[in-house]
């Protein structure tokens, strides 16, 4: 054959960055991102406009004159009924509800998941299956039984009752996640700890917990989102002084006074979503890792 060193490459050298595939890929991603960002953009833009500008009609146009008044109003002035102190009233209530609910529900679910993964006993899988089916039951249909239950144990109207309800309804999915995650932790580690004389709680606190960060992140995210955004339980199991932010939001958004103050509504909506949003943005990578460990295997 001919001298090989002069043979030209028979394939074409791919140009790395701007290949057609890449353009299509990034193009699609950017277009799709726009769909996802659109509502956020609209909400932000609208919340920074004055009502006259909104009536001009283009939701997508950036504000001509930026005003933070809607935010101020949403936070501190918007009226519901006769109270005109906006969302601010609900914020700390929400925090007060959120923290014990998240802590308790995750604590219980993680122990459940751990027991189901490493300390199986007769019937444990059955209870777990029931729990999973429970994840499909619409909350609203459980409203009455729960009300009656809480009445019977005397927790109706107590913050403890609300925490309990969040714990119960968070349990199925969280338990599933924790169970799958702990199952993925090598059994040998568990065995080693038993040989080392650690008991149920010793292994849980000393061995399992420190390894469970990703799944805790997932659980926290899910619970914070769920509990922070909850309206139904929050309003039924609390009193007006302790109404969570979502009740305030509902009131602001649904009390129409003359015209709908879209800018205030948007600002209120954004303010309400801020807490979970922040948590999402700071925990992105851990979330995927946790999902990988807790949701996919199993």
């Amino acid at each position: 054959m001919t001298d090989q060193s002069v043979i030209e490459p028979s394939g074409s050298k791919p140009s790395k960055r701007f290949s057609r595939g890449n353009i299509i890929l990034y193009g699609t991603l950017i277009v799709v991102s726009m769909y996802y960002l659109l509502p956020l953009y609209v909400m932000i833009v609208t919340s920074l406009k004055g009502m006259p500008e909104i009536r001009l009609g283009n939701v997508f146009a950036p504000p001509i004159e930026i005003t933070f008044e809607p935010w101020v109003r949403a936070w501190a002035e918007a009226c519901t009924g006769i109270n005109c102190d906006g969302l601010s009233r609900g914020f700390w209530n929400s925090v007060n509800i959120l923290i014990p609910s998240v802590v308790l529900s995750i604590a219980i679910a993680s122990v459940n998941g751990y027991a189901l993964a490493h300390w199986k006993f007769k019937g444990s899988e059955t209870f777990f299956t029931i729990l999973i089916i429970g994840a499909f039951i619409p909350y609203q249909t459980m409203l009455y039984p729960i009300v009656i239950l809480l009445r019977e144990i005397g927790l109706m109207g107590d913050l403890a009752g609300l925490v309990l309800v969040h714990t119960v309804f968070g349990m199925p999915i969280l338990t599933l996640l924790f169970r799958n995650y702990f199952t993925s932790i090598p059994e040998e580690l568990f065995k080693a700890a038993r040989v080392d004389g650690a008991g149920f709680w010793g292994i849980y606190f000393r061995i399992m917990l420190p390894m469970a960060l990703p799944i805790f992140v997932v659980a926290i995210i899910l619970q914070v989102t769920g509990i922070w955004n909850d309206f139904l339980f929050g309003v039924i199991y609390t009193k007006p002084e302790t109404y969570p932010m979502t009740v305030q939001l509902n009131n602001i958004v649904n009390s129409v006074q003359g015209v709908k103050e879209y800018n205030v509504n948007m600002a209120a909506t954004l303010l309400t979503g801020l807490v979970p949003l922040i948590i999402y943005f700071i925990s992105g990578k851990l979330f995927v890792r946790g999902i990988a460990a807790g949701a996919v295997k199993g």
Partner: protein
Amino acid sequence: MTTTSQDDARAARRPIRLFRNPMAKIASIPMILTALVVFVGGTAWTVVYSFTDSRLLPRLNFVGLDQYERLWSTRRWLISIENLAIYGICSLILTLLIGFTLAAMLDRKIRGEAVFRSIFLYPFALSFVVTGLAWQWILNPDFGLQEVVRRMGWEGFTFDPLNNPDIVMFGLLIAGLWQGTGLIMCIMLAGLRGIDEDIWKAAKVDGIGTVKTYVRIIIPMMRPVFITALVLIASGIIKLYDLVVAQTNGGPGIASEVPAKYVINYMFRAQNLGQGFAASTMMLVSVIIILVPWAYLEFGGKKRD
């Protein structure tokens, strides 16, 4: 030392099974109670009262299947079921499709993966109420999308799903997908990351195109991931309520009613608990119809581990 077989008989006694590892059982009590009291108990309670004529308050005055007969002859219920079916099927297919496609794109070792992932995921942080409001606003024909497009010159452009009974469910779908696909994408992404890279290489050596590799090889391998996703989506669909209330409140007319809303309305607004319970029992039954095959697939198939 002495011989062992007799004097250690005490230690050799087999302990009672129930008391072995007692902590594990004690620690599981909350779960057991939740499962039995709340889920089984609450469900049974609901089913029992669905055979009564309870109105505002639950009472045990049994009327047989009356509530069910009425339920199935109520137009709104039938429409609700139909709507849920339309929404459910579309949402299931589209969520899986979009979620997978996005995940597949993010999995191609792109730059800025974290940014895109956050963008796709953030709507999940927002409640359905917020989702419904935001999209109600964007789809508002007077100053939303339709108006903007019209102003750009397409005078005849009509996209007003929230006021058109024929397509209102798709208006909901747009919002529902916006909110829910991010999580599914995350799950799919995690699943894709779990696929052996050698499979890709093998496919490349076999000369199989990217799309075909996904369709013929990768997706079939991700069955467990799809099942997890399916369960999540399906449980969300059954519960569909907040979004509808926030975005259309069932309207226009009753064109976007859904079963969960029917349940709530009959329990609380119409003060006909029995009817509401009958409807929720029907929902439960359908859940079980969905779940049994799933449970069979998940647990029945692989007894090994």
